[in-house]
Amino acid sequence: MTSVFTPGAPSLLVGQDLGCVRGERLVFGGLDLSVGPGAALVLTGPNGSGKSSLLRLLAGLLAPARGRIAWDGVPVADDPEAHRARLVFVGHHDPVKPGLTVAENLKFWMTMRDGIGDIGPALAALGLDRLADQPGRYLSAGQRRRLNLARLAAVPARLWLLDEPTAGLDSAAQAMLAALMDRHLAGGGLIVASAHGPIGLGRAATLELVR
């Protein structure tokens, strides 16, 4: 198992000796990682190597089979609600309701995080402003993905966990996402993202998972 330590002073998100078991099979074990403010970590590795699993572990959707995950030195398992409040997770699925319009879909996810602001800028950040009134059912695959990613712009959160965020995006949308990520990092945010190719995170550390 490969492990990577991002050296740096105050390291916010730390995983130590992480192990993950899925379907009664060990996916990875003894994994260490650490991401500081303004830093990004890119997970790479072949299909089935555990990138998505690791992201779900970091989000708290999966319980680690061993090891611990800490934020600022405090194990996230101690206060899962605070951890959930500080992260946005973008998974393989796009949570888009066919019966709601684009604006309603985004608004909903915003309200669920106690945001009550304006969704306009978030829609614009991913080029969805013209589609605001379309029902989700009418979106193309890339448009759904954009809507999923728009949550990043709509909800303030320190930690972004992105699972192959560029899948299905055209080059314009990829650039928009890259800009968004840059701004997030510049503001001291953290990103952990999985990818099979470049996703526009220039100076990010890489964690290569093997099978």
Binding site: P98, G99, R130, D133, P135, R137, Y138
Partner: protein
């Protein structure tokens, strides 16, 4: 672009604009005549007294309930086979009107049943099959409105109307049989009493009035829907341009 499919609706709209006032006018005339003759001039029944006058609403409404469904099935077949968009719209908009007539038949029948049979409802064959017809209408309406895509709903509705039209006689027949098996022969019904011409004339007038009313309502609904679709298309097109 999808407007090209409504190229001939322009012609339809023009035609409808001419026909519709005539339907309304003639329908109103027949309605007034029928009501006048039926409620004021026709004799009370020797058995039923004044309540027989419910007949002038009830019977034409019951006829319309069946007539509208037949039309709907026909329009659906046209829509499915020739993909004619107007037939789609016709079938879709006929359903609520037909449901309305069916409801009127049910309510007036109930109102009539109370003095006649001493109860609002009995599980008699004819009553029950009208009730099922009502549900077929409701199912159709629910299905057509259950999709965000208007055309998809209309086409699903067309298939349902066709399946229902095959099933309707089967239902009627089975319910008749069901009833003869369970129900004692004491079902109260005027077994084809020879109807006075004084009753027959207003009855027919009312039937014509209801038919014209149906045509007028259908035209109004269809025109509204076509205009609505046009507006939606324009709005979409503008959104796509901006």
């Amino acid at each position: 672009m999808s407007l090209h499919r409504f190229a001939n609706p322009a012609r339809f709209l023009r035609l409808a604009a001419i026909v519709q006032p005539w339907c309304v006018g003639l329908g109103a005339l027949c309605l007034l005549g029928g009501l006048y003759l039926g409620l004021l001039r026709s004799p009370a029944d020797y058995q039923q007294g004044e309540t027989v006058r419910i007949m002038y609403v009830h019977v034409p409404a019951a006829w319309m309930a069946l007539f509208v469904y037949a039309n709907m099935a026909l329009a659906s077949a046209v829509a499915l086979i020739w993909r004619h968009p107007l037939a789609d719209i016709a079938a879709k908009n006929a359903a609520p009107i037909g449901a309305g007539f069916t409801f009127v038949a049910l309510v007036t029948g109930s109102l009539w049943g109370q003095p006649m049979w001493g109860t609002w409802w009995v599980w008699d064959a004819r009553l029950t099959s009208v009730l099922i017809l009502f549900f077929l209408y409701l199912g159709h309406i629910a299905l057509v409105n259950a999709f965000d895509d208007v055309e998809r709903g209309a086409r699903a509705g067309a298939i349902l109307a066709l399946v229902g039209s095959v099933n309707l006689p089967i239902i009627k027949f089975s319910v008749d049989w069901w009833n003869t098996l369970h129900q004692p022969a004491s079902v109260l019904r005027l077994d084809g009493p020879t109807i006075h011409s004084a009753m027959l004339t207003p009855l027919f007038l009312m039937a014509i009035a209801f038919t014209l009313l149906f045509v007028a309502l259908l035209l109004i609904n269809m025109r509204a829907e076509i205009v609505e679709r046009k507006i939606r298309n324009l709005r979409r097109a503008r959104a796509a341009e901006s």
